[in-house]
């Protein structure tokens, strides 16, 4: 079972946990957004290069029902939509496009090939100066154990 632990430590006092560091940044993981295996195989068959994965941070978002990926990144990978989904917004329901995608979490030695993720505009979204390119939603968390230890300045994600 891949287990990812992330500890937040106080600058210059690295033996001390930093609850405020975790509170400020949130539960972030390094993520690579890649084309799904089926698309990679299609490109290989056509002798076309597989696009370089996009990198950034994934924020574990317990408020999100499904995983969302920055649509600029999906466009860079050459992904085309394979579905639509109704989403709830403050202005009422709207429609968003779905894309297949593969997410790799190098720190957690974990890869997930998604049948579909929601393409959303995450440009300019950052937490504590770090760009967020993925919101990891409850579709993934439904298969995980997530421990958020605020006072200890750490979180654990196990799949």
């Amino acid at each position: 079972m891949p287990i990812h632990n992330r500890f937040f430590l106080r600058p210059k006092r690295e033996h001390e946990a930093s609850p405020e560091g975790l509170a400020s940044a949130g539960p972030l993981l390094q993520v690579q957004v890649e084309v799904p295996a089926a698309f990679a195989a299609y490109l290989a068959k056509k002798n076309q290069p597989v696009p370089t994965p996009g990198v950034g941070w994934a924020l574990i978002d317990t408020g999100a029902t499904r995983t969302c990926v920055d649509n600029n990144l999906l466009n860079q990978l050459g992904m085309q939509a394979t579905g639509t989904v109704t989403t709830g917004t403050a202005a009422g329901p709207t429609s968003q496009l779905l894309y297949p995608a593969k997410l790799s979490f190098p720190g957690a030695r974990l890869e997930i090939d998604f049948g579909s993720v929601i393409g959303v505009n995450l440009s300019g979204q950052s937490i504590a100066g770090q760009d967020v390119v993925v919101l990891l939603g409850r579709d993934v968390l439904s298969r995980c154990i997530l421990v958020y230890n605020g006072p200890g300045g750490l979180f654990t994600l196990a799949l």
Partner: protein
């Protein structure tokens, strides 16, 4: 919007397809039902083979109501918020 035509075609034919394809993933391009598959990946591979890297609709045929997805932190603009 991309896939608008396909989504409308699915909605029109959903009740009919429930008779034969309930639980399967259908692949729809324009106003054509291309096939029904056991899983999304199989449907996606079939779509790539048939249409190349182009938009096409893959959707599970189910009696359940259409899903509404929520991600309030993003839609309410809270990701950049700091106390």
């Amino acid at each position: 919007m991309t896939l608008e035509k396909e989504a409308a075609y699915f909605a029109t034919h959903k009740d009919e397809w429930l008779q034969s394809y309930e639980g399967l993933f259908v692949l729809v391009k324009d106003e054509e039902l291309v096939g029904a598959y056991a899983n999304e990946e199989e449907a996606y591979r079939s779509g790539l083979e048939r249409f190349g890297n182009a938009p096409f609709l893959i959707k599970r045929v189910t009696k359940e109501d259409e899903e509404t997805a929520h991600f309030p932190a993003l839609v309410l603009g809270l990701l950049n918020a700091h106390s």
